[in-house]
Symmetry: C2
Subunit: 355 residues, 2 copies
Amino acid sequence: MPSTRRFDPATLQTFVARSFIRVGLPDADAHTIASLMVEAEMQGSDGHGIIRLLPYITRIESGGVNTRPRLRITQERAATAHIDGDNGMGHLVMKRAAEIAIAKAKVSGMAWVGSQHSNHAGPASIYARMALPEGMIGLYFAVGNANHLPPWGGLDMLLSTNPIAVAIPAGNEPPIVLDMATTVAAYGKVKAKAQRGEMMPEGWMIDRQGNALLDPKRAAEGLLLPLGGAQAGYKGYGLALMIGILAGTLNGAAMGKAVIDFNVDTVTPTNTGQAVAMIDPAAFGDPQAFRDNVDTLINELRNSERLPGVERIWMPGEQSFYKRIDCAANGVPLSAALCDVLDTLADRLGVARLV
Amino acid sequence: MPSTRRFDPATLQTFVARSFIRVGLPDADAHTIASLMVEAEMQGSDGHGIIRLLPYITRIESGGVNTRPRLRITQERAATAHIDGDNGMGHLVMKRAAEIAIAKAKVSGMAWVGSQHSNHAGPASIYARMALPEGMIGLYFAVGNANHLPPWGGLDMLLSTNPIAVAIPAGNEPPIVLDMATTVAAYGKVKAKAQRGEMMPEGWMIDRQGNALLDPKRAAEGLLLPLGGAQAGYKGYGLALMIGILAGTLNGAAMGKAVIDFNVDTVTPTNTGQAVAMIDPAAFGDPQAFRDNVDTLINELRNSERLPGVERIWMPGEQSFYKRIDCAANGVPLSAALCDVLDTLADRLGVARLV
């Protein structure tokens, strides 16, 4: 029995969209979200892809998300906009935010759009990557939807794994796309270790005495370490804090104690904050020269002499790039366990199972 | 004999300015740079403060820096400007860049200004902090002036410790100011360990076989580890790369192999690239409410329960804030070794020694 099954992206999108329509979303919105969730899956962001369908549906059914939001630009200037997402699905809010930022950046050289009353929107890189077809640079920041990180030296989990994504267009090379949590390991990786019955490596988590915590089944007793770990974790703490302020506090969205743990509470609006910024390289020089210089840089890095045992030097986002091509050609792999969950959901919602 | 001497900030500034004037800088430019170098020293950025005077002067005397630059805005839009620094001192270029960004952000909500043909400008936070008197958020990115970091898995030192700084205004609390290199340890910390005859902790550097390198006197044989270290260093590598592209490649400035090691080569123009961005919180909501919310967040984090042995939880930049107050009240401490260097320099240039 294969541990994964592969599905045509369009089939997957249709299934996801039907599920959202069944719980009250308008057709167009359901397809927008489904398309972005399939895109997340295809680039390998499986922790933020189809696996989220059940929790999203559960939250919608609990009344925790507004299925008919009226997105509203509360104010805008030449290079900025602030969006009130009206507690709609984050994908809708941030796709709109990225579109506004691109339109403004075309005129003003760059733009920054922030959201409040938004929700989880999937992987950060999806929105940063919206810059690429325009030949722009995209940046994305978000407040995570559960706090697992204390301040440096502290025990109270007041910060999330607040991610940052940056997407850089290249010429002939794949774009460079960074998408990272500001902890050593994202919390999803801890859950995956627990599911597989594996121990965590030292450096992912500590217990409340500051000792290494290796058993992922004891994760609830422990704290994630910020990027930099025991030695330089004050830097990761600083990054998580700054990203949280830029994405959350600046927008009047939840930060610190106000963050709702959406794994536990499916009802209270999360007031999620996110920000997307777009930069037009043409505002800083010749855009073709820029893309050529990015290609040159990629080749310098890729052709570096390598450490013993290293077969290839990868650019950030390069493995996702090839994964996307593979999924488009050969179908999107979903684990058998996830397929079971989706079948159960389909039966419950009364939509056709994935085949 | 005390190991440090303290100097009045104004005295220090006068001394530094006179040194620059003696090697050909206009009075106003010399005082601008001196003021920023003293500010760096006062906030504890001693690796980027007065210790740089001798290498700056040496570079100017070697003809590596243009003492009479004509800064030129090559193009600008509502939210962007691109500055050609004409190989002038980086302090002049980036102070000008920050001023332009602030003026544009007042109108457009935010602005991003990039430089090419600039030079080392001191600590990143100096320019991000220029946002604070305006009640704005400041960001700063730079390409470092020597490559010590290979790509992840590689051995060729193609990246620098490219720093990022973010400055956030608060209400009654000190501002939050992050200023960090994207390596575990900045190269200056390695040099300091060597000077003190100490070993480095494991995790700062590796040798070319990938083994821990602990002796800082062997630093030339080794590689800095990116933030995240052996476990998650691909994230620090990604950050160093992205900051380098945003500050360097985007501006037509040096990145990768084109970066000049200014410790070794004092003649070739560095074509340093930097970027500064300013965000007006008023473009995203009520600015007073924002500052109040930052205060609330600071107090939540500071009052967290603490790990055993931790006396206090600090915000990024908080220790610098108190150091600045101490220096203003009690004078700026310089090591006896640095004072000797400055005396020798003063005698050679024919300016009055520091007293």
